[in-house]
């Protein structure tokens, strides 16, 4: 291509009429030519190229930030989920008809009584006998 052809291409570039292939060819030409007639075009295209590179870098940083945020979110979910599911707290409470009792001894006595009734060898036949009378 002649110098006029390149100048023509540069003009079309600034009119935003060039194809991607033409822009690539123009960038390659400006990168290798030392003709001072193209200094101005080289400076402007160089600026745009630098801007494009910065935008691409920003995109990469943005993606990285997103991934880090997602990882942090998942870590938070894991910690909260584990803390909720593993029940590390010592809960000891009775709600009797809406009234709250936190007296440990009272609550633990209730636990023992309930489990003794449930697991006692005697409870089965007694309850069965009761219900036999009840539902006959």
């Amino acid at each position: 291509m002649t110098q006029d052809n390149w100048n023509n291409l540069i003009e079309r570039y600034f009119e935003a009429e060039t194809t991607p292939e033409e822009e690539r060819a123009l960038r390659e030409f400006l990168a290798r030519t030392e003709d001072p007639a193209f200094d101005e075009a080289r400076a402007v295209l160089g600026y745009f190229s630098a801007q494009r590179a910065r935008r691409a870098a920003r995109g990469r940083v943005s993606k990285l930030t997103g991934l880090l945020a997602a990882a942090a979110g998942l870590a938070l979910v894991a910690v909260l989920g584990h803390s909720v599911l593993s029940r590390p707290d010592d809960t000891c409470v009775i709600y009797a008809y809406g009234e709250k009792t936190t007296d440990t001894q009272v609550v633990l006595d209730d636990v023992t009584n309930t489990l003794t009734t449930l697991f006692s060898d005697n409870q089965g036949p007694d309850v069965a006998a009761q219900l036999t009378d009840f539902f006959k």
């Binding site: 809960t91 023992t112 009761q130």
Partner: protein, 154 residues
């Protein structure tokens, strides 16, 4: 970013749901969905208090109900029994009086559900009948044998 926030929120809620549902039909009784909570006695114990019995969670509900309510609760327990890996049940004239169910669990901790029902009053008048019901949900690295050994009164 919006998608990340939505996914994070859903994931945060997941363990809460998982804990509150427990996958049992009887959970509705513990949640006060069958009988309102102001009509029952609910006991909840977790942590070190239960260590000596190798239990992590004790959750019981005691209530006095009429015949229809008793039937609803017993039906839920019997539904849960279908998924139990081990069960002991007493059914008298079609009425569930006792159940001890063990459910499958992924971790070493096992899940147990106990049910006890006995008549309280109104044996002569069906309309006035009151049934005393206890439901117990347990979690822990123990067995029915050990629980019976610890709590059985011979």
């Amino acid at each position: 970013m919006k998608k990340i926030l939505i996914i994070t929120t859903l994931l945060l809620l997941l363990p809460v749901w998982a804990r509150s549902q427990d996958g049992l039909h009887s959970q509705a009784v513990f949640d006060g969905k069958i009988i309102p909570k102001d009509r029952l006695i609910e006991t909840l114990v977790t942590g070190d208090h239960l260590k000596e019995y190798n239990l992590d969670l004790f959750h019981s509900v005691r209530l006095e109900v009429d015949e229809a309510e008793y039937q609803s609760i017993a039906a839920l327990v019997q539904e849960d029994a279908k998924n139990a890996i081990s069960k002991e049940m007493d059914i008298v004239h079609g009425h569930l009086s006792y159940a001890l169910l063990v459910f499958p669990s992924k971790d070493p901790d096992k899940r147990f559900l106990g049910f006890n029902a006995g008549y309280k009053s109104g044996q002569d008048n069906e309309a006035d009948r009151t049934v005393s019901v206890t439901i117990v949900y347990l979690e822990g690295n123990t067995t029915v044998t050990d629980l019976k050994k610890n709590f059985s009164v011979k």
